[in-house]
Symmetry: C2
Subunit: 179 residues, 2 copies
DNA sequence: ACCGTTGTGAACATGAGTGTTCACCTGCTG
DNA sequence: CAGCAGGTGAACACTCATGTTCACAACGGT
């Protein structure tokens, strides 16, 4: 039941970051008092939601073989499927000001950065820094999630959209513009 | 002086979307009363900031020759240079709930969408919808602005980063992965 | 049947942001 | 000099989210 509460909080806070605790409680079908008992302060709730998202990422990240050459594609495909629960991490304002969360996010980024750096020896371009590539991946995920939530993009199309766009770009195959 | 006020408000609200009007006034070096006199309500201020950003976009968009083949590159390069003033439009939460602003943004997107659709006949891939390409462009801008504000990216590098990433992708030239 | 746990609603106090009014000061113009 | 426009700070009332407390109901285990 606590799980459902967190998920509800995620979607409510994602739709309106300024939603009151009363709104969250009502949406979850519980009393505001109950919410306060489980998460004494608003910050606690936000942190719990964020950590829930991070747990979710952890759970898929540990299924990915980071030594594989397809590790990035694999990871991205799995992340796309997670949807709103993780979108929260990229969208919620002021989340980066929580030192504890920031540390966990950075710790989670590190293996991906290492993977990118390694792949820059073979499949990824070397004229862009690894962090830029990482953020480009995130931006692709973000776009997909947003498009899905607006109903513009079919969830099953999302992985293909993200992977082709991020890896190959939006220019048609033959067109090489400015070097 | 009113111009400086809007710019200050932009940066303050961008750094912390929940900043109080008192914070904005203090940052701008004016009294809160003065702020209220110019923008009677908080909504008015936010709308003014957003419209200022839209004016800024208008001013560069009208310098771009949308019939040129390089129109997209030209537009993107100019947009990158605008920085935080426009970043506000993409970052500020709840902005899309203002019908008037949403209409103006859509009206502004339309010619770019048309341009993209036209270029899909030549330089842009046809297997992605125009709106997806548009959002990919925006995501590139967003990444650049964020990286610049964090000091990770030199402003002069930004246009190249955005254009190569968005158009050619992050995969190295030779590597063609999954179709 | 008793009791601890858990959830619930009601009520309250508090603090912050907001919008408004008013008296005062400054600088400029006629 | 008089008057006016624009800016300023102080004070006020109002709203709302928040955090806290309390008494009560439901439920399960002993």
């Amino acid at each position: 039941m606590s799980v459902h509460l967190l998920q509800t909080a995620t979607s409510v806070l994602l739709k309106d970051p300024t939603a009151s605790l009363g709104d969250v409680a009502k949406a979850a079908g519980v009393g505001r008092t109950t919410l306060h008992k489980r998460f004494p302060t608003r910050t606690d709730l936000v942190r719990a939601v964020a950590n829930d998202a991070l747990d979710l990422i952890d759970s898929v990240a540990c299924e990915v073989d980071f030594d594989s050459d397809d590790a990035l594609e694999d990871l991205m495909t799995r992340l796309v499927a997670l949807g709103p629960r993780v979108e929260f991490l990229l969208r919620f304002p002021g989340l980066e000001r929580d030192a504890e969360l920031r540390a966990r996010i950075e710790a989670m980024d590190q293996p991906v950065l290492d993977l990118i750096t390694r792949l820059q020896g073979t499949r990824l371009r070397r004229d862009l820094p690894a962090w830029w590539i990482l953020h480009t991946l995130y931006a692709g995920l973000f776009n997909a999630w947003e498009a899905i939530s607006y109903g513009r993009l079919a969830p099953l199309d999302a992985p293909r959209f993200v992977l082709t766009t991020v890896f190959e770009g939006v220019a048609s195959a033959g067109a090489t513009d400015r070097t």
